[in-house]
Amino acid sequence: MVETKVQSILYLNGVTKSFDGFKAINNLSLDIRPGELRAIIGPNGAGKSTMMDIITGKTKPDEGEVKFRDVIDLTKHDEAEIANMGIGRKFQKPTVIESLSVWENLELALAGHRNVFQTLFFKLDKAQIERIEEILLLIGLQERRAEQARNLSHGQKQWLEIGMLIIQDPELLLVDEPAAGMTDYETMETAKLLKSISENHSVIVVEHDMDFIRALDTKVTVLHEGSVLAEGTLDVVSSNPRVIEVYLGR
């Protein structure tokens, strides 16, 4: 899935975005390699969500470059186009389609046809059914496939949403606070799940939970006031005095 030719799966350079004079993102630069699992931490208002919005096309930056696979300028595309290029996003609040079943949620996210007339006459083929089964197994929801998504527990919704991400076959996954509101057990299971996903996808995880970040055991970027404060392993950044001051010390 990852082509070796590509240098950076995602490359942000000098990105700035302000809302009514408030700089949510300030000269932010970020470089994600193909196949990399990157954790991003930062206090509330550090610009994590705005960064996600810019990457996924929901918000346009005032200035700066946003490049996908070295060449594609993401600022020129809308959400649906970016999603179809291979960038999947999981929201902070689990947003699965509540009134559809687990199976239907996965079917909806399944890679492939997206236009009205294709979906009007769509039928699952054998390979697609197998693919859905495979994902159901991965996220551990085989038993609850016919259940309406609204009846799932909070953790299960998160997993379903992660499943919906993977089934789109994205090259890059953006995962916003997956462990929020989860039990300790669920948190650790989620970290395991993300690590296994990162074996063949690039993943960016935004998270507050330090135990979760530690379990991911990967490179960490600390955001503060819209730009990068520190970067490195969790041990390196957590001993950085500036990081301690703005974030960990609280």
Binding site: I97, E147, Q168
Partner: protein, 387 residues
Amino acid sequence: MSRKPILQLLLTNDKASRWLFIVMGVLGVLVPILNLAVPADSAFHVPTYMVTLIGKYLCFAMLALALDLIWGYCGILSLGHGAFFALGGYAMGMYLMRQIGDRGVYGNPVLPDFMVFLNWQELPWYWYGFDNFGFALLMVFLAPGLLAFLFGWLAFRSRVTGVYLSIITQALTYALMLAFFRNDMGFGGNNGLTDFKDILGFDLQADSTRVSLFVITLLCLAGAYILCQYITRSKAGRVLISIRDAESRTRFIGYKVEHYKLFVFVVSSLIAGLAGALYVPQIGIINPSEFNPLNSIEIVIWVAIGGRGTLYGAIIGAILVNYAKTTFTSGVFAEYWLFILGALFVITTIYLPRGVVGILDGYRQKVARKKADQAAATPVPQTAGGK
């Protein structure tokens, strides 16, 4: 769940649809027989005015169906759907006007009476072609369809949603109402189009014509219902539900939300237009009051009372409320009808969020649960859902 041919699904799997088809079938056979074959003095005779009255309810049911498709499944609350209904009606009305020929009060073979009255010398260009039924039928779909396409294209592309969208749909129908009230628009001003004589050569006052129109309306309603069922049960239907429940999530999965909204909005406007076109020959008049925003709000009430997002609920709601309207507006309650309607709406919204069909559904689930509890005693093999 929905991987079988739609007709098979409707007839085998979906109890509500099956009942609906049975009732429509019975109506379609019984009403013509009781009207045409049973002598007028028999207790079983269905008078022609009753045939037309039921026909009118069916047109409204179709209109409610159109609204439920966009509101119940895609969350687009149109408060101007009466506009599409009226446009379809006007297209049909223009054909019926031209059919009058020289039998009008002024006896002008080309110009409708109101134009002679206004001292117009020739037919405006936009009336050309309406003497041809095929052309008129095309316009029945084209006029509302094009308006819906233009309006939807602009509104959905700029991501106008929720209450803002509702308000501009309301403005749309209001603007059309004002325009159609003007005499120089060439649509008969506040009198509208009326005094129709015949349709395709058949006398509109004849019982057989009335009954035929009734049967055609019934067939169109059934067709529209099957179309809506097909759409809502396809994968596209699940995309619509997903737009209703989580619009921005749907975008991030990669669906062009505006395309889906536009598609379903246009389909809905076509159904509404057809309903209007069937309404006009049965009622015998179309005037600008059909564009009245209040009418459009009433449609929303029918759907809400019947039960939103079920399709058959919309049909039940439209017929129930209009039956109540006929009953109450002719008796001592006449003055209080609007209060009754308002109260019904408020009560439904607060106590019956899923409408009349919600009550039936709740009862059915209770029975099913009781059965399931009994069955739980004996273990059953795991069933694979979703397939």
